[in-house]
Amino acid sequence: MSRLSIQLPGLDLKNPIMPASGCFGFGKEFGNLYDLSKLGAIMIKATTVETRLGNPTPRVAETAAGMLNAIGLQNPGLEKVMNSELPYLERFDVPIIANVAGTTTEDYVEVSEKISTAPNVKALELNISCPNVKHGGITFGTDPVIARELVEAVKKVSKVPVYVKLSPNVTDIVEIAKAVEAGGADGITMINTLVGMRLDERTGKPVIANGTGGLSGPAVKPVAIRMVYEVYKAVNIPIIGMGGVTNAQDVIDFMSAGASAVAVGTANFVDPFVCPNIIEELPAKLEKLGVKRINEIIGRSHL
């Protein structure tokens, strides 16, 4: 297995594959389907200080080779996540990356401080990029100064390394990446969803109750690859890449562009066994490329 292992700040990954935040809940449902210890890590659903009910339904809509979602950060709140959700995951040999969201800097600080003390939480992922929250959230992801300040504040309190999840809905993602690196981020995760909309064919109104939603799935992969490629050139912290990954080739592509590990989101809905399947396919893919250890391909696009 050491062929697939990857070392990242706070994360000792058996392999570079992990479910993306919001596409795997808190693991329980998939834990009934396969042994979660197979995974490199798990990015759990965004956690906020208080319980969030999220947006009205419909919350999802299908698009060409993609989907829109506007879940709206629904989650049971920090306390319940720590008391009821995270302990379940302790039975598996898998590091947890806690996705942290909020409306104010104080929100982020509070969740980060507490959730980073959970025994199996090995890293935080600051969700400064969720397009589906009306107040706050989105501004953190589009303004480099605010983003940097947020990271600095969280770094002061977090017991584990801090990764920052970038929004693709910006003119210059490199600028934001550099800002969070300057703020002390230990790594970057990217990309979150692109803001999109689908209209009902008959009424012409948005299908998603929230109006807009976040676009994910294979359709966005070219945008994600381009952004990982650009950010890799500009920063010295590792990147966990995502956006449209559905198979082992996609993993190779993201790592070639510069990702050190890869998250799988939407594909879990299409095939709930996609993560273990990819992990199984990877060695043969590496063999074909004549690569011994998977970390050798990180950033090979740039050679």
Partner: protein, 257 residues
Amino acid sequence: MIQQERMIVVRQSEIAHHIFELTLQGKIVQDMNPGQFVHIRVSDSFEPLLRRPISIANINKEANEATVIYRAEGRGTQILSQKQVGDEVDVLGPLGNGFPVEAAPEGGTALLVGGGIGVPPLYELSQALNARGIRTIHVFGFATEDVCFYEDEFSTLGDTHFVTVDGTKGTKGFVTDLLDELKPEFDVFYACGPLPMLRALEGFYPEKKGYLSFEERMGCGIGACFACICKTTDQTEKDYVKVCSDGPVFPKGVVEL
């Protein structure tokens, strides 16, 4: 247990206008119960990307066969309707919690109310109830005559009444009009159909036990993505339920309508 299986198409036919009856063979049939659903991937390509949730209409455990009845309207169901005998279909299931057959008292009567494409799961339910010696009354509403189906099948199981919006079959109007007229005697009711129908039924029989099957746009189908939630009326214990994993069937009064 939830499994993913490439089931084999055993039969497929159009039984009403754009309404298809599809029978699939596979081992996951052994785990199926009335009111549960399957999540079907209609194509190996990215287009369409998401699975389609379809209720289980008939379960034949001896033959390892399950039947679904669906309307081929959008892109996904249209592709599904082109599958030929022998083709494989990628099925995730069985999903959700079905109708509680045991909620009907022994020797009692159950009222089954269905609307349009909500009727299919009531067929397996009716068989299961009849198998337990429970009498079933079927009251089904459809838009027009040409989309009605399974009249004979339901008639052999119990009293069957159709109502259509345009009056082309049975009486004219909605199921609630027909229920007003029929005034059926029963112990428990089960319903599946469009939201307005469920809403109308919710308070219709205040003194009776009732179970409603819901629909919501889905992502994962297994409870992980929070796409399919419904608010609960009782916001103290649980704020919301997920149609895919907590439902699709809920006792009446649980979901805020």
